[in-house]
């Protein structure tokens, strides 16, 4: 029979604006998916176009992702952006088939003429989080909870641990992961909550949680303890409606400006450019940053700025693996 690509090519000559494909977390994951969505919405509003959002089902394979991206490209969306490292291979595969479309991918770095890869210096912002944690800790013990022990999350761990150590070598860091290799780690707040509870019980008073949706469990526990601080990830968790009642315990968040990256890409494509190559969003260009909402780190802003300065001018190299 007829192929779906053939049938659609004629109908959808015109450009349709950005098509965004999320991984299982979905567009409102309170995390970097949400951030990407915000960026797209902003760009859309500014340029008068409507972005199309699609989300993966549980247990998808590469074939499903390829199909989703193909569908978007085929329907004329441009740029087509895959959010999450799992989209890396799929983007590479689909981009080859649609040379006239610009593809963007977050957290992965596949090669391709028409691929714009956006990777972030999570370790750098985590370093700053470590600085903040070390400075704010009264007990001299801070903790890190990762959702799943994989390379991406290890980047957060590495930066955080280094940041703490560089700021105050006497502060101890407890590092723990919810699961060794199981995506349940990003959707198990109950477990994160127990883990945080145990850490708090051991006098840890600042906890940095990089665990997707599980993070809310940890933040809630921290909020239950006087004087303890939670540090969020990916987006400014202070601002999230779902976490509103814990606001006062959210010290700061290690923010990935996925929104900016995505907005820039959309704008560029809209303006007829076709950016490509791997682009690392670092501290230097505000690709990652420490959130200041709530003003809880105002008192240590100087130290943080100093650390930022040193990272930016290369005085400190932050390790990306523990």
């Amino acid at each position: 029979g007829e192929s779906s690509t053939e049938s659609n090519e004629n109908e959808n000559e015109g450009e349709k604006g950005p098509g965004i494909a999320f991984d299982v977390g979905g567009r409102d994951d309170h995390s970097f998916n949400e951030s990407a969505a915000t960026g797209a919405d902003r760009a859309g509003e500014a340029l008068g176009i409507t972005p199309e959002f699609q989300t993966a089902r549980n247990g998808e394979t590469n074939a499903d992702r390829v199909q989703r991206l193909t569908g978007l490209a085929n329907a004329g969306y441009n740029p087509v952006i895959g959010v999450g490292y799992l989209y890396g291979d799929a983007i590479a595969e689909v981009a080859a088939e649609f040379p006239d479309t610009t593809f963007g991918v977050v957290d992965a770095a596949p090669e391709g003429e028409n691929i714009y890869s956006m990777v972030f210096a999570e370790h750098e912002v985590s370093y700053l989080a470590g600085v903040a944690a070390a400075l704010k800790s009264e007990t001299g013990r801070v903790g890190f909870i990762g959702g799943v022990d994989n390379p991406l999350i290890q980047k957060f761990e590495a930066g955080f641990v280094q940041g703490v150590a560089d700021t105050n070598p006497d502060v101890e860091v407890e590092v723990d992961y919810l699961y060794a290799d199981d995506d349940r780690g990003f959707a198990d707040p109950a477990k994160a909550s127990e883990k945080a509870n145990a850490m708090l019980g051991r006098d840890v008073d600042v906890i940095y949680t990089a665990a997707g949706s599980s993070g809310s469990g940890s933040i809630e526990q921290v909020a239950g303890v006087e004087g303890a601080w939670a540090i969020g990830v990916d987006s400014d968790q202070y601002q999230q409606p779902g976490l509103a009642e814990y606001q006062d315990s959210i010290l700061t968040s290690g923010v990935k400006r996925v929104d900016v990256a995505v907005e820039d890409l959309i704008t560029a494509v809209h303006n007829g450019e076709a950016p490509s190559g791997i682009h690392e969003y670092t501290l230097a260009e505000n690709g990652v940053e420490l959130a200041t909402s709530g003003g809880f780190i105002d008192d240590i802003q100087d130290e943080i700025d100093a650390a930022t300065e040193r990272i930016v001018n290369g005085e400190i190299t932050v390790a990306s693996t523990p």
Partner: protein, 401 residues
């Protein structure tokens, strides 16, 4: 007998605690947390028990739990946590009734129907969550809901028994052999106790009383042993199976609601196989409430240990197992089973050697520890299990076996 076992377990724990210096083994928080992990699994297991005692295998517990989780999240953010609990029970019970219609009325194979319910529940829950929580511009979305989460609900505050809790706490902090250990564990019963845990305990006791001490229970259990005989005595077997499955689903749903109340929302995937684990604890527990509680307790204990303590503490349990196996070995030897005894003793020595040679355990092994423990315990004890005779067999009114 049971008391003796408990005393033995306490002694063993204290011993290991003293040797390894892992105070968290008998710490209050560890045990509170063990309860937290045990309760949803235990409730699912109890649900399984109700179903299987009435003769119906319920592999759909996971799905019923999901329904409970969802219903609780949905009602919870609008009407508060207690309404969520009720909704969870209703949601799960609906799943149980679907299972009843399929297995009892239509005579579908129990496992087939259970698997179908798991698939269906997942589909329904994800579909509705997207519709109701993630709808753009909806009230729920504004309150913090999205495709994968409901908006948060109120908290149910835990309670502590004032004087007792502190007194036991002081005692526990002294780290006296056995005394402090007992105090630490006992304190888990009076300190920061969740009302839902209390409810769960009541349900276990209530299940025992209802199923083993009343005529209702006798009838229900006999449906699982010999439904033909039961029917021939004028008991409406279908009715009892329906009831049992509704309760079964309700309990699994309550397990889901417990999770929802714990994390204060519906979170996609939060059940994470707990329904299946419930099924395992039911078999583990020999289809008795006490056994299910013990199974869930063991699981919760291991899970809490690994979640809270990580490698070092789980490492300490190696010694626990070594001692346990040694004890078993002696017992088997006394009963004249030499080969078994030597095999057990050998394993114990190996475990001890492992314990002595290392001082922590890799994360991967730690996360697997609850499952490994369950497997180990079952391997040692499985042959003493007694399945309800007619479980899983299709039953039609007026038909010979």
């Amino acid at each position: 007998m049971a008391l003796l076992l408990v005393a033995g377990a306490l002694l063993l724990l204290s011993l290991v605690r003293v040797i390894t210096d892992e105070n968290s083994l008998t710490g209050t928080d560890q045990w509170v947390s063990a309860m937290t992990f045990a309760v949803p699994i235990g409730l699912a297991g109890l649900g399984g028990l109700w179903a299987e005692r009435s003769g119906v295998i319920n592999i759909g517990l996971e799905g019923m739990m999901m329904l409970g989780l969802f219903a609780a999240g949905w009602i919870g953010w609008q009407h508060g946590p207690w309404a969520a609990v009720a909704a969870g029970i209703v949601g799960g019970a609906l799943g149980g009734l679907v299972h009843a219609v399929a297995t009892v009325t239509f005579g579908v194979d129990h496992i087939v129907s259970g698997v179908a319910i798991n698939i269906l529940a997942l589909g329904v829950v994800q579909f509705l969550a997207k519709q109701w929580f993630g709808g753009e511009g909806s009230e729920a979305a504004a309150a913090g809901g999205n495709d994968k989460q409901s908006p948060p609900m109120e908290r149910i505050e835990p309670f502590s028994v004032p004087g007792l809790s502190d007194w036991l706490g002081d005692l526990a902090d002294k780290h006296w052999f056995l005394v402090s250990d007992t105090a630490g564990i006992a304190r888990a019963l009076v300190h920061n106790v969740s009302w839902l845990t209390v409810l769960a305990v009541l349900l276990f006791v209530g299940t025992y009383l209802l199923l083993w001490r009343t005529s209702f229970g006798l009838r229900l259990r006999s449906c699982g042993e010999n439904p033909q005989a039961t029917e021939s005595l004028g008991v409406n077997v279908y009715l009892y199976k329906y009831l049992a499955l509704a309760v079964s689903g309700g309990l699994a749903g309550l397990g889901g609601a417990y999770l929802a109340v714990l994390i204060r929302m519906y979170q996609d995937g939060q059940t994470g196989g707990r329904g299946y684990l419930g099924l395992a604890t039911m078999i583990f527990g020999n289809w008795r409430p006490g056994g299910v509680a013990a199974g869930a307790g063991l699981f919760g204990f291991m899970d809490a240990l690994q979640t809270r303590g990580g490698g070092a503490v789980v490492h300490a349990t190696l010694l626990l197992f070594a001692l346990l196996l040694l004890g078993l070995s002696v017992w088997q030897y006394l009963r004249g089973r030499r080969v078994v005894a030597f095999a057990l003793a050998g394993t114990a020595v190996l475990l001890w050697a492992w314990y002595a040679a290392t001082d922590t355990m890799p994360l991967e092994l730690v996360t697997a520890s609850p499952y490994l423990t369950t497997l180990l315990v079952l391997t040692l004890f499985a042959q003493r299990l007694r399945v309800p005779r007619a479980v899983g067999k299709p039953y039609r009114r007026g038909q010979d076996s």
